[in-house]
């Protein structure tokens, strides 16, 4: 069977090339594929580029290579069973996703967790933010040629991974949260471990600062590249550090303080130009601010309960189940039927490392959601790619992709 480019229905470089040739037969524009297997696309993003010489004239991002149907899966299991799937959304900050999902279901149920649980969740979120930003900065620097920074960042991130392992037994797919509480209380080694990590962190951040902020090569490759104005950033719905780099001082932790964020002092860094350099500066400053929050949180970590005392939401302890009748019934019902959620629709969103992660849950009652929509920041942020890249050179593409800091697991769901 002969193949013509007409058979290639989905966006394909050959198909796009044909389109270009049909429009401008004497054009010498070139169509190239970036990804889905390319180091700078950080996963399986594919970008089809139209080049005029080395200048990018058009950009078609192609996503969906990591689509696993998480939203369909969620409709077919109980609320508790979906929690491990949230780890796999933004897999660079799994704990933060767990936290947002737990809060979303708790909002649907109309319950509030004890203060200790709130503060532990804040610590988890901020540690995830540091881990995610460190990796983001490291990869970004490596993409534009600074290998050393990547190694320093990974070294520091490894310490956060060790802390996650201490908490949950897993480095990556932690699933530490539970609806109505946590999987277990903090281990005794955790707080000293966090203190030790926080002590070493400023030196590393200063080191990154020293290696990049005034580095001539880095500045040349990022300043004035991929500029996104405030108006376009809002129009495209960008959130998180990418929006703040464009000069919009908006952070869900400040705008709608959820969890225990209202109790802590921290600043929201913003950029002035909205170029790749600003996005780097904002992320680096956010690592410092996260350190401030964690420092305050471990200094005034409240004692007391770390989960709700409600057998219809939170699994009773094993000893209770084995010795008392009521907890046994609760465990049986929770495992077989799940929670008893009221009918209604809620949206809960929180400031994740990549931006606003939201869960829209439509419940018709019972233990299984009728519809669960994940509003993922990477999906929305990636839409800005054509606005950022057109007019720049092909080699700037790596800087732009690195500065956007997206995760395909979350984008494609």
């Amino acid at each position: 069977m002969t193949v013509s480019t007409n058979d290639l229905l989905w966006i394909d470089s050959a198909h796009r090339a044909r389109e270009v040739w049909e429009q401008q037969p004497d054009s010498d524009r070139m169509i190239i594929n970036l990804g889905p297997q390319h180091p700078s696309t950080h996963g399986v993003l594919r970008v089809v580029l139209e080049l005029d010489g080395e200048d990018i004239t058009r950009v078609w991002p192609d996503i969906g290579y990591l689509h696993r149907g998480d939203e369909k899966i969620a409709e077919n299991m109980t609320y508790q069973q979906f929690l491990p799937y949230t780890d796999r959304l933004d897999y660079l900050a799994p704990l933060a996703n767990n936290v947002v999902y737990a809060y979303a279901v708790e909002k649907l149920l109309g319950i509030d967790v004890p203060p200790r649980c709130h503060v532990i969740r804040v610590i988890c979120c901020e540690l995830s933010r540091m881990a995610s930003h460190l990796l983001g900065l490291g990869c970004y620097a490596m993409d534009v040629g600074a290998m050393t920074v990547f190694l320093y960042c990974m070294r520091e991130r490894e310490k956060v991974m060790d802390l996650f392992e201490l908490l949950s037994g897993a480095r990556f797919t932690s699933s530490y949260m539970r609806i109505g509480g946590l999987a277990n209380d903090l281990p005794i080694e955790f707080v000293p471990g966090v203190r030790q990590f926080l002590e070493g962190l400023p030196a590393t951040v200063d080191e990154i600062d020293g290696l990049l902020t005034r580095n001539r090569i880095f500045v040349d490759r990022t300043r004035g590249v991929g500029v996104l104005s405030k108006e376009i950033a809002i129009d495209l719905g960008l959130t998180g550090p990418n929006l703040r780099a464009s000069g919009v001082e908006w952070d869900l932790r400040k705008a709608h303080p959820y969890s225990a964020y209202g109790e802590f002092d921290f600043d929201v860094p913003t950029g002035s130009v909205g170029d790749c350099y600003d996005r780097f500066l904002v992320r680096m400053e956010e690592v410092r601010q996260s350190r401030r929050i964690v420092q305050q949180a471990i200094d005034r970590l409240p004692g007391g309960a770390w989960h709700v005392d409600n057998g219809k939401v939170f699994l009773p302890s094993k000893t209770e189940v084995l010795t008392r009748m009521e907890p046994l019934i609760h465990q049986f019902i929770l495992i077989t039927e799940g929670l008893d959620a009221p009918p209604g629709e809620i949206y809960f969103s929180a400031e994740n490392p990549k931006g606003e992660l939201g869960f829209l849950i439509v419940s018709r009652g019972g233990g299984v959601p009728h519809r669960l929509k994940v509003r993922s920041p990477s999906f929305v942020n990636l839409q800005a790619l054509p606005a950022l890249a057109v007019g720049h050179m092909l080699s700037d593409m790596t800087a732009i992709l690195g500065s956007l800091d997206f995760v395909m697991g979350e984008c494609d769901r």
Binding site: M1, V3, D7, L8, L9, W10, I11, A14, I63, G64, H67, G69, E71, K72, I73, E75, N76, K107, L108, G110, I232, I234, D235, L236, G237, V248, W250, A255, H256, G344, E345, I346, Y347, S349, E356, G358, L360, V362, H370, R371, K373, R375, F379, V380, Q383, D412, R413
Partner: protein, 210 residues
């Protein structure tokens, strides 16, 4: 300006077209007929300051009439409030006007709703599938689509145009094969006819069972 004032303004402009569902967990929303959607969105953006479209979700309320629903989650950076706007979409004519011209971010969200639910958006600049490949015949988030998947042709590539393969998830996504075989066989894995074929092929590393 806040959400309540915005709803009052909508009520003033659109009269009885605006239906206000009961407030649940402090979240306010309005339902509108789909003919008035774009008009209402324009009012909300220009006069009420809802400058950001946070999310756009398609819902399949299978068995209800109208079957589909689209929810627009609006946010205002100036007065920090949210508003949920929903429109019903009938199954016979799943078409809604696009709001891309109002919020640029709607572009990909509408493509996703089209891909997953099969709702078409008139006036959309580039309404293609986004997560599934072009040419995929189903809309996976519809309630009548089984979680195990349905067979579909894979997109033709320049390498093997015209070849037809079944969907990798046919027969259930997590089919565990128990027994005493080695772990690659025992792990839960997609069970499709391709892997069935492989299973019948003799594994050279496998020791003969006595």
């Amino acid at each position: 300006m806040n959400t309540s004032i915005a709803i009052a303004l909508l009520r003033e402009r659109f009269g009885s077209d605006v239906v206000e569902p009961p407030v649940f967990r402090g979240e306010q929303g309005v339902q509108l007929p789909r003919e008035r959607l774009v008009e209402a969105c324009r009012v909300l953006k220009t006069e009420c300051g809802f400058d950001m479209l946070t999310d756009l979700t398609g819902l399949d309320n299978f068995g209800d009439s109208p079957r589909f629903e689209i929810q627009y989650l609006l946010y205002s950076l100036s007065h920090l409030s949210r508003l949920r706007l929903s429109v019903g979409v009938p199954e016979e004519d799943p078409v809604v006007d696009s709001v891309c011209a109002i919020w640029g971010t709607a572009n990909w969200h509408e493509r996703e709703a089209f891909d997953m639910m099969g709702i078409r958006f008139t006036g959309h600049p580039d309404l293609r599938r986004i997560l599934m490949w072009d040419g995929y015949p189903h809309h996976p988030l519809r309630k009548d689509f089984p979680v195990a998947g349905l067979p579909a042709e894979l997109p033709a590539t320049a390498m093997d145009a015209g070849s037809v393969e079944v969907a990798p998830m046919e027969g259930g996504p997590f089919v565990a094969v128990t027994g005493t075989t080695f772990s690659t066989r025992r792990e839960p894995r997609a069970c499709d006819s391709a892997s069935e074929r492989n299973r019948s092929v003799k594994d050279p590393h496998r020791k003969e069972e006595i």
